[in-house]
Symmetry: C2
Subunit: 504 residues, 2 copies
């Protein structure tokens, strides 16, 4: 049995161990316990499942201080950020309670029996149903929002799927604490304990995605780890969907007009976005495309100065710190790349300094442009729209793409917008990509390697990942799920092709 | 260059060659031509894309006689079935024209800027957009409905995705004919020719799914071929979704009451469903669960007699014929399996006879129960509900599962319904699974190996496979797609969480 020991990023000191690696046999038992609750959870009336989500939200909110303190000691993200993250997670559980209460997510569709151009049609009633046990992989950089609690777990439970989380080894204490709080809350609300499970260790993660009862996987992490899990999934008898949120460069385009109008504001805003949470956000701008010339120079200068004022920040763990050091050093050594700002290379614990580089577009190969996890970014200077398009088309696709515009710019950005739309899942104007609102319209996903799916991991439609369609043909009303019966007029339905709003 | 030569299943005689295998370089060129049309097609106003679909439908309808004659000579499916299939395909193109006109499929979601419990929220506007070039693999058993024309092609074009079809080698003439008709119709309607492409040969199929510009794959065929394509996809730099519709056993449960009330009708109905289209439908009942005892005996006797009256039928090609022969022979040799009806082993061309077997549930291992493509089925006799559940839980999951009930049965079928729902995508009552209505509510999919996706290949929501979400944050109205602008009130939208119906 191997003990899992986290390290305090502020000091580099080992923390008390709270978990051991879960053996393959134990993983099988945890998954079996989850699977045994699948029918109960999926058949629980939506109002009661909403109440379960609210109870979990209450439990997390009720232990705020303890959670934030534990998470800070394991991640070094600081109380302000962690309090905000917990607020977001609590909101997310309540938000999904409202999403399932509203009911559109079921896609209830009723085709009454009758004559059609294709001849007589039977009575068909379609809705989405829970897929079964879901595996969720906690991310190092969001101990509360993409981990044991968070959008994946909230949306899967909302869908009616039991969840087994593979804890991230950088915050095992936070994982165990949240797990116990959430599980106790679920049990107190009347649920069987198996609706939420927890496993530890890399081998346990592989065993988890290979467990026959697991029906889908939610993952946030590196492309390498994601690919390894996809390979494990490919070895299953029955393949299952893998919803991975992987790497993202998040290009920001600064137009000439924007640079001319707002150099100082943009430089400071970009610096804040790059360095927030020590640059460890999946939507951090890793590539800033600034026009050549004096206006562009002013943006880069302002950004460099603002970043230079940032003190040494602790990264999440030793691996991330080592990777940050070697990637920033690689940039610094790349011919044609100039160092604009560079903080102290080392600090106490896992501390590192910021890094801002720049290079002209024509002196840089797109292969040189990679995501650096941490407070670093690369400015690429462009001369012509063609050069800009060239860079945007050559770098890897992203979760986000941003345009900083001049006050008068509008329709002339259509071509650029179309280019960005092909390469990202969220297109922003005069905003910064870090900070992802949890809402009905949100999309947090994008073409590979941003995600490998056509779905989001944030926002209402994140629930779609844990659902599959079923249609009932000529079914007696007594065997139908309540939402497919004639009297289920409290949810939006499509009846004979027409969308019908709820009544009453 | 290898010539592709089809065989007339009625006679076994080689037909005139109409195609050659497409080289990897030619595949790349076809895909590039398709990719070059992607922006044009996705940005075409929905009304004009609907008109394009209607034009293709008209062209297919206008060449009905020639299409049916060509398809019959290559597939042996007969003019009645092929006329019905063409009608269905023509309807499907028109149906998807209506689906995109209605507009719900875009999932337009507007979150206006404002204060929320999580603080100020930006303006977010989400919709689904076309993914890009789609690869479609024609199926042997549906030369007109899951081939060059059909639901995959219609839904992908409707979504705004150019399509490259890999023709099935059993009906190359039909494929080339339909391709030319459809492409000519598209060009006459103002489209660039590249919106539809065609390639031939197994290696070309592998090259197609590996082409970087291809964004998703629609496949209908065997589990083995599907798995080979999934492996090819796994070798891509950027993985893409594979929507495979693979094998399906389609269990039919006959309750004691049904057997007692309707033995003769059920036996005849099942025989018709098993032998229609020479048993080469993906929803053919391959497993019929009949109660033990005299009532069940009557069902099996009636089914055997009706099947025995069916004459020799030609299968689609030599491989399918050989596989049918060996699998039916395997069943015949399995200890405990009794032969209820067995037609002539051989006929002219690829002709075969029907085969009906039966075995008691406790004498058969679930591993013995496999899909036999062709006019064969297996009756398993059950004693207790537990035994029934055991068989249903042990065999592979399916596209459909059916219950034949007694006239008074209802609520007592809830447990059985729940079991079936876990193992299939369409649950039928007192109906036969063959025959899949094209409609808003239809679902043609199910857990692996029925499909490997959470989507359908028939019905309105089949379009979801070729779409991905994009959200615009604080975008100037001028750069937004028309459907995301404030004035797009002609389609259903979710505004600030509320579903709003079209106005006017």
């Amino acid at each position: 049995m191997t003990t899992i020991t986290a390290t305090n990023p502020y000091t580099g000191a080992a923390l008390e161990s709270v978990a051991e690696e879960t053996s393959p046999e134990e993983v099988a038992a945890v998954v079996a316990e989850a699977a045994a609750t699948a029918s109960w959870l999926s058949e629980l009336p939506r109002s009661e499942r909403a109440a379960l989500l609210e109870a979990i939200a209450d439990a997390l909110e009720g232990a705020r201080e303890q959670i934030v303190e534990t998470a800070d000691s394991e991640t070094g993200l600081g109380a302000t950020r962690l309090n905000g993250e917990l607020t977001r997670t609590v909101f997310q559980f309540r938000f999904f309670a409202s999403v399932i209460t509203e009911g559109s997510y079921l896609e209830v569709t009723l085709d009454p029996a009758g004559d059609t151009p294709m001849g007589p049609r039977p009575d068909l009633r379609r809705m989405l149903v829970a897929t079964g046990v879901v595996a969720v992989f906690g991310a190092s950089n969001f101990p509360l929002a993409f981990s044991v609690p968070g959008g994946d777990t909230a949306s899967a439970l909302a869908a009616g799927c039991p969840v087994v989380v593979k804890a991230h080894p950088s915050h095992p204490g936070t994982s165990v604490l949240c797990f116990q709080l959430m599980r106790d809350a679920a049990v107190a609300a009347g649920a069987p304990a198996g609706v939420l499970g927890l496993v530890h260790g890399q081998a346990a993660g592989v065993a988890l995605v290979k467990a026959p009862e697991v029906t889908a996987v939610g993952f946030t992490g590196s492309t390498g780890a994601g690919k390894a899990l996809m390979e494990a999934i490919a070895e299953r008898d029955a393949p299952i969907p893998f919803y991975g949120e992987l790497s993202s460069i998040n290009p920001v385009v600064v137009t000439r007009a924007a640079a001319a109008e707002r150099a100082q504001e943009l430089g400071e805003g970009l610096a804040t976005s790059v360095t927030g949470s020590a640059g460890q956000l999946c939507t951090k701008p890793g590539l800033v495309l600034v026009p050549s010339g004096a206006e562009g120079d002013a943006v880069v200068t302002a950004m460099g100065q603002a970043m230079g004022r940032t003190s040494t920040v602790p990264l999440l763990n030793e691996r991330i710190r080592d990777s940050y050091r070697s990637l920033t050093e690689e940039y610094a050594q790349t011919p044609g790349v100039e160092q604009v700002a560079r903080g102290e290379a080392e600090g106490e614990g896992f501390g590192v300094g910021v890094a801002l580089f720049q290079a002209p577009a024509d002196e840089l190969s797109p292969d040189d442009i990679a995501e650096i996890f941490g407070p670093a970014s690369l400015v690429v200077r462009w001369d012509s729209p063609e050069q800009l398009d060239g860079v945007l088309g050559a770098v890897e696709d992203s979760l986000t793409a941003t345009v900083q515009t001049g006050s008068g710019e509008g329709a002339e950005l259509s071509g650029l917008t179309r280019t960005l739309q092909a390469h990202a899942g969220r297109i922003l104007f005069n905003a910064y990509p870090t900070g992802v609102a949890v809402s009905w319209a949100q999309n947090h996903g994008g073409p590979w390697p941003a995600t490998n799916s056509q779905h989001t991991s944030v926002g209402a439609t994140a629930i779609r990942r844990w659902l599959r369609p079923v249609v009932f043909q000529n079914a007696p009303e007594a065997v139908l799920p309540p939402e497919l019966r004639d009297d289920a007029t409290d949810i939006p339905r499509r009846v004979d092709g027409q969308l019908v709003l709820p009544q009453g």
